[in-house]
Amino acid sequence: MTGDEKAKEEFEPKIIGFLCNWCSYTGADLAGVSRLQYPSNIRIIKVMCSGRVNPQFVLKAFQEGADGVLVSGCHPGDCHYIEGNYHARRKLAMLSDILEFTGIEPERFQMSWVSASEGQKFAKIVTAFTEQVKELGPQKKLAGGEDE
């Protein structure tokens, strides 16, 4: 194993997950009570609705050293507040465009719809996303200062 590969092997990304209170957070909870295995790299922040996630939060997370950010809400049409996730979809799609344009890998940022009954799906998304971010390596572009 070369040094490079070893570094990649050891790298455990920090992922911030903004989950909506009504679907995704409950979905994550279900994944927990069902004892599903998924990487512990994700740090979950509960928000009342995915529409609450200001693009600023995502950028701040990156700035504070997050390697990936996951935003998850109710499926379109299922929002507890009727339309919050539609607003989130617009905002965050634009954010992903500008991340790509400035050369920050848009793969570090993901949005997903997870309902309260989709513990399986949540575990799957987190596993896949963690793999994806691990592949990209540490995020150093927006992160300010030295890590730790």
Binding site: Q63, E83, A93, E100, K141, G145
Partner: protein, 335 residues
């Protein structure tokens, strides 16, 4: 050839009539700069002063910022609020700002009288400095800048200099799609037709780069930023009473440190705040002391909004704001 003199006369006549009939409290316009060929903003309160107003390709400022200040003015204790209408002279690009401000309920339509001019382009101040090198120093007083379809004509004491349009034309005018005002009470100048649709040519180069090259480009540009916030302060749509970057309670969103991380955060957040609202008036880039191509960020979002949601801000006050509305059929590819 655009007859700037006749247009100036017409502006003065209209402004005079408005002030004499007490239709407006005052008129926001441009006057001749004291030592400069670039016109400067002026507020005319007296009908006798209207002769100070000018219109020429050096009228670069977007005056709607002053309109916002007027609308947000809080009367002092004991002072009667004066809600009378205000007159303003706008270029077509600035008229889009007014549309956006009306849409966002900052400017009530009845509180503004819009004198709009049609315009084929203004000068870029940075380019002007280079061009002026060709004119002897002692002859630079009393310069007049005129233009026709192909060139700028700089008239100075004892001669004139012809400059091809691209050498002096503002960057924003190269991609402009509104040469006629979109909202107005009075229009001055002939209707301009036959301009090309925006092809986003200025973004193409960056978009063809690899992500790493793009980051390199932006890192270089953004590391120049001194965070003077001139781009924010000159923007007619950055009107928040307390800007998020000034907020200190419950915590600060951005450090005072000037580094790539904080600067990038600032510029990305600013661009996001203007997404679907920015009308590409180009003020941010014009006032930037270190020449960061800020417009590119805004224009990328302008393009995205158009591609994704068929939204192009600043055209119709009846339109819904992009982030204030949604469509169930919006594309869902992020998931």
């Amino acid at each position: 050839m655009v007859d700037y003199n006749a247009m100036t006369q017409e502006i003065r006549a209209k402004a005079k009539a408005m002030l004499e009939n007490k239709e407006v409290k005052y008129i926001i316009g441009w006057e001749r700069g004291a030592n400069s060929f670039i016109s400067r903003p002026v507020i005319i309160r007296d009908a006798g002063d209207t002769d100070r107003l000018v219109w020429n390709p050096g009228c670069v400022d977007n005056l709607t910022r002053y309109l916002v200040e007027e609308m947000q003015y809080k009367p002092k204790r004991g002072e009667e609020p004066d809600l009378g209408p205000v007159g303003i002279i706008v270029k077509p690009c600035d008229s889009k700002s007014i549309v956006e401000l009306i849409k966002e309920n900052i400017v009530p339509r009845e509180r503004v009288k819009i004198i709009a001019v049609t315009n084929i382009g203004t000068v870029e101040t940075n380019k002007l400095r280079k061009v002026l090198q060709k004119i002897p120093q002692d002859k630079r007083a009393g310069i007049d800048i005129l233009q026709d379809d192909n060139e700028f004509i700089i008239k100075y004491d004892g001669g004139e200099l012809k400059v091809p349009r691209p050498e002096l034309l503002a960057n924003k005018c190269e991609t402009c799609v509104t040469h006629n005002p979109v909202i107005h009470d009075v229009v001055i100048g002939d209707k301009i037709e036959g301009f090309e649709a925006d092809k986003w040519a200025d973004l193409a180069e960056l978009e063809s780069m690899s992500p790493e090259e793009r980051w390199k480009f932006w890192e270089d540009q953004i590391s120049k930023c001194v965070r003077c916030y001139a781009c924010r302060d000159s923007c007619s749509l950055c009107y928040c009473a307390e800007c998020v970057f000034d907020k200190e309670k419950p915590f600060t969103w951005i450090d005072k440190t000037v580094d790539v991380s904080n600067n990038m955060f600032y510029h990305l957040v600013r661009a996001m705040h203007l997404a679907g609202r920015c009308v590409d008036c180009g003020e941010c880039e014009r006032v930037c002391p270190v020449n960061i191509p800020i417009r590119k960020l805004n224009r990328l979002l302008l393009k995205s909004a158009k591609d994704r949601y068929k939204i192009y801000p600043g055209m119709n006050p009846e339109d819904k704001p992009m982030f204030g509305s949604y469509d169930i059929a919006d594309p869902d590819e992020v998931v």
